[in-house]
Amino acid sequence: MLRNSIRDFAESEILPKAIELDEKEEFSIELTRKMAGMGLFGITVSEEYGGSGMDYLSYCIAVEELARVDGSHSATVAAGNSLGIGPINYYGSEKQKKEWLPKLCSGEILASFGLTEPDAGSDAGASKTTAKLENGEWVVDGSKIFITNSTSELSAICTVQAVTGQRSDGRKEMSCILVPNGTPGFEARKMTGKMMWRASDTGELFFDNCRVPEENLLGKRGEGFRQMLETLDNGRLAIAAMGLGGAQGAFELALKYGREREQFGKPVASFQANAFKLADMATTIEAARCMLYKACALKDAGKPFSKIAAMAKLYCAEVMGAVVDNAVQIFGGYGLMKEYHIERFFRDYKLLTIGEGTSEVQRIVISRHIGCYGD
């Protein structure tokens, strides 16, 4: 029922606008509000705070169905839930949760997660943004980059990862601090010229002597790094769902086209060269789905899922890569034209091997888990 409902919604509301929004590189407030009306923000948050109280499997199915139609809108939802709402939901105080979650879950506002910096991508520990405690206020200085849902008129708050001191072992002490958009000294600039996810909102954030109350600290001081790692573990499931959904959407487009398009008097799907491509797509998509759903089941059961989440993220992204490549090939020349949608999938795919932990980082996580580097 969940899948059918989101599929109907995505095909009726998002699909007709996907090409135009992508072309104009426009983030649609209207569609974001409609997605909020569907309850797509706060999917796993308890009903007490205005969420839907669903499990991670349901969340991933919702993201999968959005991604089957359009990457940008699945990105808005995945980032909204995993990165925007997630940290506040998991680490926020009762007061912070009561203040922010209901508005975030209703989609009235969006939250973002300020982690990546110009000089700190995969090496998140190299963050330079600082927050110093002065007279009961955090003073935030630094900048963040590639931050989803951070600059639109809906963007209301950012969870900023900042260096708040030095630990006894000499490493940086990291903490997460809630900084509302519009706080003096906080500027959010929309980034344009993206290859992919062009209808999602991506921003560059600047903090210059930006002051927020001490109570805006999320969780405990010094827990920022752990919070970030956990947030990314959860986020990986949704990114994997985007790969799975994108692969499914591209496969369906290719299959439909392959059965309709005739060359040499026969549908091109009936040529074995293409039929085998489609068979491989269907097979790898099914394998990816099994892996992701298993990861969700482990997460929902409260069991360790970090390794399989990394595997699912890596694998779903790679499956989508192979699927979109072959799908465009089946479309031939038409596949290169915007009108046929498939080229958007081809571009949108590329983020998935880079964002929320590159494929290389996933392999580091996996190889650590399987004990390649000793105990």
């Binding site: 029922m1 969940l2 059918n4 409902s5 109907d8 919604f9 009306g37 569907m38 309850g39 797509l40 999917i43 009903e47 839907s52 109280g53 669903m54 349901s58 919702a62």
Partner: protein
């Protein structure tokens, strides 16, 4: 106010329909089933009316169908209906419209009603009979193919439009009445995620024929489906070609007259 909405589970409009080997129905494996799209207009109109009245009115889904119809019923509850009655009985395996109407009438009478909404027809068998038989059984007016609905302030009558050839027909009916709904009446809402969660806790009252006080399956023998047959395969297509179009047309006319004998 007690608002009744009727629901039928039908194969998805895009499903590929194949006849089963015995010729007694369609093959259901691999076919996605949905709420009859016209019934969705009825559900939406019921929900809109409840929201407009905002006086504690209830929307109750009534469905006579197999066990598997539960999914469609839950979807209607996720859209926002309050509760449901599901008449589900092995004796209803192959019902005709008279049977369904009799069963629905009994279930609706047991519930009580102030207005009934349903789709103008089911998209599977396209019979469009239930609403009319039901109106007779309940002895209430029916308005079919409604494209606009406006309940009077005192809820004792309603104004409606129905699309007819070349224009709209405006109708006023007393209440209670049964309204069959057409495309254009409204835009059915989607089942939202919170709606889906809430639907899990809503009540579906399962009823057998015995529960409704029906001893014999009504309407048996009135009409019966003898056999289901697939559509005949299309015949061979011949293309009449000639250098000059006019010669092709002459040849076509000759073939139509002498071979096909249709002109």
């Amino acid at each position: 106010m007690k608002i009744i909405v009727l629901l039928k589970r039908v194969p998805d409009t895009e499903a590929k329909i194949l006849i089963n080997q015995e010729g007694t129905g369609i093959r259901e494996d691999g076919v996605k089933f949905v709420i009859n799209p016209h019934d969705e207009y009825g559900i939406e109109e019921g929900l809109k009316l409840r929201e407009k009245l905002a006086d504690g009115s209830k929307v109750t889904v009534v469905c006579a169908g197999p066990e598997e119809a539960t999914e469609a019923i839950r979807t209607a509850l996720a859209m926002g209906a309050d509760d449901a009655v599901h008449v589900c009985d092995p004796k209803l395996a192959d019902p005709n419209p008279f049977t369904v109407s009799e069963v629905l009438a009994k279930a609706i009478q047991a519930e009580g009603f102030d207005v009934i909404f349903c789709g103008k027809q089911a998209i599977d068998d396209d019979l469009a009979q239930v609403q009319s038989i039901l109106a007779e059984k309940l002895d209430i007016p029916q308005v079919n193919n409604a494209t606009a609905f406006e309940m009077a302030a005192d809820c004792r009558s309603a104004k409606l439009s129905r699309r007819i050839e070349g224009g709209d027909e405006k109708i006023e009916t007393s209440m209670p009445a049964i309204i069959s709904c057409d495309k254009g009446l409204n835009e059915p809402r989607y089942a939202s995620l919170p709606g889906i969660m809430k639907a899990k806790k809503k009540e579906i009252r399962k009823k057998s024929l015995a529960d409704l006080g029906i001893a014999e399956v009504p309407g048996t023998g009135r009409s019966r489906v003898l056999k289901w047959l697939p559509l005949p395969k299309g015949g061979e297509c011949r293309i009449v070609a000639a250098e000059e179009t006019v010669d092709a047309v002459r040849e076509l006319a000759r073939l139509l007259r002498e071979e096909a004998k249709v002109i």
